[in-house]
Every structure is written in C-alpha cells, then in structure tokens.
C-alpha cells in the first residue's frame, strides 16, 4: 500500500526518515494553513466564532487569520458576494501567493443562497475556483471546522512536488 503519511520508526530507520517529497510538502502545508477571512455578511460572525475560544480553530493548525492576501493561502469566503464586491474578491484572490485554496462558506457564497436577486452573484465559483463548499445558513462552526479538515485532506493528496517542478520549469523558460 502506498502511504502518503510521514512515518518514522527510530528502531528501524535510525536517524534517517524515508518518505516521499509529496508527503513532506503536503504535511507541512496542511498544518500551516493561513486563512484570509473574506467576511462579507452574517457568515463572517460564525467564522469569528470558529476562531474564538469555544470552537478554537487553532486546534487544527489554521488559526493564523491574516487580513492581507499576501500573507495568507486559504480564502474563506464567508457571506453574500454581490456583483459589486465580486471584482474585489477576485482581486484579493489574485494577490494571494500560490499555492492557494478557497472555501465557500455558507449558502450565499456557494450558490447565492436566498438572494435570488439582481444584485447577488449566484455562487462565488463564478469568479474563483472553490475547493470546499460548506452548506448552511449560516454553517455552524463545527461545519466550518469539518470543511477545513476536508481541505487539509485535499491538500494532503495534492501532487505538490510535480507541480513545484512544473512551476520551476515554466519559470525558467
């Protein structure tokens, strides 16, 4: 069985750890997700609750909320994306460094939610690629934590090394 886990048995391996580059890179990435709180409406309140002491998102290694896109790698779109705001959301996404992920939190960010109206974009996936959708209006903090753990699983299975090599090759050309 091919495992992506980092395993180390000191009796067998001594001071050497044998593993795959992907496993190491992903292990590092998924335990240091720095979310960018894109709080646009009521869901943002629930996002704050997830970060506060009761639900404590830091238990899962992603509590470092950064309000600058340049310092973060996971945009949590929490709230209603209006057409007027869509441009801003995309620009902030563009300013985030690779690798980056997007979580659409709540019905509004996922599909437009209850706002079937002229002013609301029917899902943020119209402008940015979404990795995880969270249902609920608003989702409970547990649901967000679950989504973030799903995202960690997803990061854990990415072909990071080949992507890194690819990026290096294209940038060298």
């Amino acid at each position: 069985m091919v495992s992506n886990e980092v395993a180390y048995n000191s009796k067998i391996e001594g001071e050497v750890i044998v593993t795959k580059a992907d496993a190491v890179v992903n292990w590092i990435r998924k335990h240091s997700v720095w979310p960018m709180p894109m709080g646009l409406a009521c869901c943002a309140i629930e996002l704050m609750a997830s970060a506060a002491s009761r639900y404590d998102i830091s238990r899962f290694g992603m509590e470092v909320m950064r309000f600058s896109p340049r310092q973060s790698d996971c945009m949590i779109v929490a709230g209603t994306v209006t057409y007027k705001m869509a441009e801003v959301v995309r620009r902030i996404y563009d300013q985030m460094g690779d690798p980056k992920w997007v979580v659409a939190m709540g019905a509004c960010a996922s599909t437009g939610g209850m706002y079937r109206s002229y002013a609301v974009m029917q899902g943020v996936d119209n402008i940015v690629p979404v990795d995880v959708y969270v249902s609920g209006c608003p989702p409970r903090p547990e649901a967000l934590l679950d989504a973030m753990m799903k995202l960690q699983d997803k990061i854990g299975n990415e072909p990071s090394t080949s992507r890194l090599l690819q990026a290096r090759n294209t940038s060298m050309v």
């Binding site: 057409y83 437009g112 079937r116 002013a119 609301v120 402008i127």
Partner: protein
C-alpha cells in the same frame, strides 16, 4: 404637541400642503417646489430637527404622478414624527429638489433614492450611485425592473477576461422567497412571480 391647533396652524402657514389620513403619524402632502420651504419651517420653527428617513415609492406606470418621495422627520421636543409625501412631476425623468441644504443627513438617502429609482435630486452636491456600481444602467426598484435582474457586463474588464463572469438574471425556479400572493398558501408560496428565466424555461432572447 402635535394636536389640532398645531396642524391648523401649520396648514394656514403652508396653504399648499394637505393632511393625508394615515393611522400612525401626521402625514402631509406637499408639492415638490415647496419642499424646501416646508422642511425649513418644520426644522426651524417646529423643532423637527431630525431627518429619520428619506426614500421614494414607485406607484406604477398607470398612476399619473408615478414617483413619490417620502420624508420622515422627528422632533426631539415633541417626541413625535411627521411624514411628508411629495410627488415628482415628470414620470420619464423624475426630478426632485434636494433637501440636503436643510438636512445634511439627506445626502446618502437621496443618493440611494437616485440609485434605486432614478430620481434626480437637483442641487445635490454628489449625486452618484451608492449601492450599485457607477456604470449600472438600470434602476432596480422601479416596477418594470425584474427582481431576477437583467444581463449586463461585470464592471471590471480584467476580471471578466479571466473569469468570463457577467451579471446574469438569477434563477427563480422554486425559490420560496417571492410569494405569488394569490390562492392557497401551498400554491402561492414556493413559486416565484418573476420567472423570466428558470431551469425549466429557457431564457428569453
């Protein structure tokens, strides 16, 4: 106190205004040209010093004066409200005098009424859209505007180039948010009145 004497006195001073019967608070009608005069008097002489709200109503194309501006004033002395109804004259390109000079708080309210109804407030210092983006071509709260919206390009060209996104009418099928308002609740509720484009019905070209 807003009592009979107060109202009589007010009407005597402003013969152009009328009392409209409303259940909650004193409601006056006033022609658009006299609105500055009336509000100035209410502010300075009658202590109605607080502008609570300024908005507009679209009464539909069939009505002679389609657009009506509604102003709510509050007096911190009387502890009571006054409402003023005032019709805009032109139905095609409605205009209304800005009361920004009397109540500076009217600034954003008038911008909102302009944004949603297209009422031009003459004399307003900064009359531009406040909710929709500047280039938006429609006035969404007018009666003929469909709730779902109308196709227009997104305001940012570079974002459109990357994402191919645009402003599209929202799908209305099965939305429980607009009641058809007729018949039994079970028939009326989950259907939208405005189904110009749904999953089942093709978008009209």
């Amino acid at each position: 106190m807003i009592d009979k004497d107060f109202i009589e006195d007010l009407l005597k001073k402003h013969p152009y205004s009328n009392v409209k019967h409303q259940n909650d608070c004193l409601t006056l009608s006033c022609p658009a040209q006299q609105i500055i005069d009336l509000t100035t008097e209410l502010r300075d002489q009658q202590t109605f010093d607080l502008l609570v709200d300024l908005t507009a109503v679209d009464q539909g194309e069939a009505v002679e004066n389609r657009f009506m501006v509604v102003i709510h004033l509050y007096s911190c002395i009387h502890h009571d409200y006054i409402r003023i109804h005032s019709d805009c004259t032109d139905n095609e390109s409605p205009e209304f005098p800005s009361i920004h000079s009397v109540y500076p708080a009217a600034n954003w309210h008038e911008r909102e009424a302009f944004d949603m109804f297209g009422i031009v407030f003459t004399g307003h210092p900064n009359l531009k859209r406040i909710l929709m983006w500047d280039e938006y071509p429609y006035f969404p709260l007018r009666k003929e505007f469909p709730l779902a919206g109308i196709d227009v390009p997104l305001p940012a060209d570079d974002v459109v180039e990357v994402t191919q996104a645009s402003v599209e009418p929202a799908p209305m099928m099965g939305g429980p948010f607009v009641s058809s308002g007729q018949g039994f609740m079970s028939d009326a509720e989950p259907r939208a009145k405005d189904e110009s484009w749904t999953e089942k019905k093709e978008k009209p070209v």
